[in-house]
Chain length 363, copies 4
């Protein structure tokens, strides 16, 4: 229960960090979309490890295999199954501390919920590796949205308290994929990289903030009062491990503004109704208003740190300490960037299909 998302464009996620594979089913994708392994792989490669300092040494190639729903290079309308087999698995470190939950991890909650039957190797279902599955689904969603001209991008706007200078969309697009930290501001990125190195030396970890932007989203997507565009986006983004907060447009700052400042005034531009500012982040009353959909998520610092932390031995019910060894990223933010874009795309795609914006057969 709980591993499916979306009403028309429905993704169902499965697989474990140290199990056989990670996989996702995409049901409801229109027939007739050209789709190949290459389309998926390009997105997957962006989240692969080893592109920056402090990244995990686990050397997964993450090669996607499409096992259903595609025939002769086109989607068939049947569910699309995609798998990435786990190959470089080393579960040695996870056996030691079986009964001592790692602070900041889901070990304890999963233990309670699943009665200790959950696969805790590498975090099992709670590993950041599940974003492999999300990114695979996102790749399809992005292709579909592209047919309507909708683009989704995500970039790092803050790491360890260092804020990137805001950039124009064009510059973000240009810079983000060539920045190992997925940050459009090279100067800030350099400082962030130093901070990551520092945290690594200190056997610690750091977090940050990712901004997701969807461009050319037409006005009218979202299904109030409960299936709001912002509500569904928030839910989808909180499925990314380590995300602890979500804000749209001015977000928490809106709470500190006057109405006269925060209200985005309507005006005309090129014969279309637009707003002069975008404090709403492209969403009014749970429905897109035609402006860019802008969302920011807080990513907590990686829970796995080598330094000794206090915990309890749940079997003996006594205090103990733990040093989380395994293979982890000092800062997960850069590798979560493709997952943010993926979850935005998946959500928007579902709304576009609900609204009839994308046809059921692509011609």
């Amino acid at each position: 229960m709980g591993n499916s998302l979306g009403k028309i464009f429905t993704i169902t996620c499965f697989g474990e960090s140290h199990g056989t594979c990670l996989g996702i089913l995409v049901d409801g994708c229109p027939a007739g979309l050209p789709l190949s392994q290459t389309d998926i792989q390009a997105e997957l490669d962006k989240r692969r490890a080893g592109q920056t300092t402090g990244s995990t040494t686990r050397g997964e190639k993450d090669e996607v295999e499409i096992i259903s729903g595609v025939y002769n290079g086109f989607t068939t309308g049947a569910p699309i199954g995609m798998l990435t087999w786990n190959k470089d698995v080393d579960s040695g470190n996870y056996k030691k501390n079986k009964s001592a939950p790692r602070p900041g991890h889901a070990d304890y909650t999963a233990f309670v919920k699943y009665g200790g039957f959950n696969d805790l190797r590498g975090g099992g279902r709670f590993s950041g590796r599940i974003t492999v599955a999300l990114v695979m689904a996102g790749a399809i969603a992005r292709k579909l949205l592209g047919l309507s001209g909708i683009e989704v991008l995500a970039h790092t706007v803050e790491i360890g308290g260092i804020k990137a200078t805001p950039k124009e969309i064009a510059e973000i697009k240009r810079n983000v994929d060539r920045s190992p930290l997925r940050c459009a501001d090279p100067k800030a990125a350099a400082e962030m990289a130093q901070l990551i190195e520092k945290a690594e030396k200190e056997q610690d970890s750091i977090g940050g903030i990712i901004e997701g932007i969807a461009l050319n989203v037409p006005a009218g997507l979202g299904e109030p009062v409960f299936d709001n565009l912002d509500g569904e986006l928030a839910k989808a983004l909180l499925a990314i491990p380590a995300v602890k907060a979500v804000e749209f447009g001015a977000g928490f700052n809106a709470a500190r503004m006057r109405g006269s400042e925060n209200n985005d005034l309507f005006t005309l531009k090129d014969g279309k109704i637009v707003t002069t500012t975008n404090n709403a982040g492209g969403v009014l009353g749970g429905i897109s208003n035609g402006m860019p959909v802008v969302v920011r998520v807080a990513v907590k610092p990686t829970a796995s740190i080598p330094r000794s932390q206090e915990t309890v031995d749940a079997a003996k019910m006594e205090k103990t300490t733990i040093s989380v060894m395994g293979r982890h990223d000092v800062c997960i933010v850069p590798r979560a960037v493709p997952a943010v874009a993926a979850m935005m795309a998946v959500t928007l795609c579902d709304f576009a299909l609900r609204a009839g914006l994308i046809p059921r057969v692509i011609k």
Copy 2:
């Protein structure tokens, strides 16, 4: 589409601000819960207008009527229908500006989505008045959760940039209902009240931040990877008009901490596993960890302000200005507090039923 929420405890919302009524159906409520109009009315009264400066002059009594699902004082297991008839409706101000969308409102997005057929009197479906329906559902959820000892409270922690000093749970409980601003810190509340008066004089509005807290939530609620406790809470809370951001525990601040600071260490207390801090806000890996579930939402300043604002006349496609008259709250935060508690309760209730924590028949 989009007006139902929850998998087992499912609420379906209907009605308009200036229509016949506001209503909600609660399906999936276990049979055997003692329930009367009084239970619901007590919650509704907390969100009624006129309790503070700058509150709308619309004088709705908001009397609940239960129209199904309750027999002989107990829930029957059938859907519970609840209505509040609209009585003090004055739609005069809404007819004037039919084609000029009010900045910060859903007028424009609803117009596009529903082709102009939406009922725009008083904001129609997008009015803050729909929280009447949410609060009615929340009243039932709170009673059900109470059977397991789970309590939900909400309070104002910030208005117009003025922050309340953090208080102990006991003090929050004691103060919140007697504070017209629903703020547990009387000193801050006095300043907030002044700020609201000032904004009103300046024909402007202000926003703020509400914190919701759920106590005694057992570890194990939440259905990863998509139906996470935090994800579903965020979605439910973003259904409250004017909410633009949601954070759990340390939230955005977590993004600025080190892992060694942010990780909540496990320890033992009274023979139970607890954490020494609660930066996680009671949720790890999408599942409750037994600590209080703590969430904060940003409420934007009321979009309706009397001062003149630029907008466009969508019929003529030319620029114009608008002064939003109607009857509105200068600061909606205090009246959104019961809605925050309601949506938390509704969400937790659904998870408690999914987990089998609440039986299908109350005995």
Copy 3:
């Protein structure tokens, strides 16, 4: 749980036989559909009692009240709430036998499921009166389908073993509404009426078979492999109290044919691909094939009969007898006919919306 049906066009049913009202919410109806009380009332009147021998003496007028979702004579895109207040309630007969379940009724199963808290007056949620709600929703669905030329009709094809002679569609349409038994064959109808009178005299009841036909359904509706057109229709039809079986096209007879007889051969007619026969009942592989969708449902004889029947007293756990007095129809078939058409319409409407056949705004 369980009182909502449909994915895009979603109906949620509430109310009890002897409670305050019967009601239904229709969520997902496109905006811009002209809709008035009169549209709904016309359908409701067809299922009203007292039109034939042996019909209940309960004199409900069943006047619909629309309480949300319609503004200025058009649907707004918001959920449409419809109520029928119960007025002629006489619950005297239901109090007597509280602990002795009536054979053939849901008294026993509801007692077990809801721990005795269910409202058993008049059968509560299990009364045939809930079809009032279904018919109200069906009225909207029929109007929507009509925009695409889709028509749904239903008629009595068998009562108490007396079979109506098959008639052409045109004749069925002409005859059904003027026949109190909703039977297109006047000769058979006369015999059926006599049989009903006979059963009434013998303090007994009889059942029958209803056929539903949907015309002009385009090929392509249905979402295999689980949300098949036939599967969803069957589920929707089995929600009508007393329905015990559903068959499509040749149905059970198909099981006795050869493939060479049962296969509907494709041919061309007026430039379109059609089949020469319709053993498939318009559904192949769970998807409509462009031929009329034909379904037959078996309606069991009314469970309420005045003659003495053996049962048990569940409180004392001893055998007893019961005579079901109340006010009931000797044969419920004619009054179930509008419900069959309603449930077909509701289901087809949902599929038409899923397929994008009906736009989200009617213009």
Copy 4:
């Protein structure tokens, strides 16, 4: 869209007849259930081809591979992924008639729905081979139900018009697995086998009727008014290719009985409330009543027959003829028997979980 079934115990089906694999995901299975490939394989083997005359010559071994959700021999609470790789694929016969739809098949409807992009090799998603996936899910459901003593069986009761003599449950259990036709009456089975041989010689096919029986189902399962036990069972069973009708208990015969005959009288047996007959098929008001749940489904004759049939060439829009070669069963009934049991088990399992009958962790 449409490839998931169930609310708590949710199965999602994928894969094609001549594609890479057939697979199913089971989400919502409680943690702690002992589960191995062997458990699944035993059920799969029952539906394998080649066990009787007239069976397809396609020699698939159908070996299940569990790719997620099981760890150390127990379910983990995460989604269970199961695959069967297709190995003996011969798509030669399907390329020939690409534009001429086979009578009785989904070729035409799938072509319209998916714009010709559907994989039509071997019927693609519409092949009887998808029951491999259903049976894999059913194997898990049966194990879970077994924990509560619930047993599900299915058997052939009619083929080509030849009816099996009704047998006691014990005899059905004893005979069904050793009968290649899954018929508990050896005498009837012999006649059925002859009829199949005859049909094969005549290049034709035959159908039949399967009965499913669930034993020890406690009273109280089912969620009226829409998620009825019978409604959900019917929907699930109609997902099996070739099923055209479903009836419960007396089914269509109930329509011909008097109320006094059809009503099942309540009585006491071993201190429990039971009924003296089971015309209701174990379901009253959409809820199980504690008696065996009895359902019968009509299976149409195999649509694929070698003899020449009329059809149209959809590309040229002209009449043509077709001889369906491929590899098919003359009578699919025996191989559909395990699918009937599987879909009953899957549906009952979902209801048992909804009702809290099966805990979320098996201990």
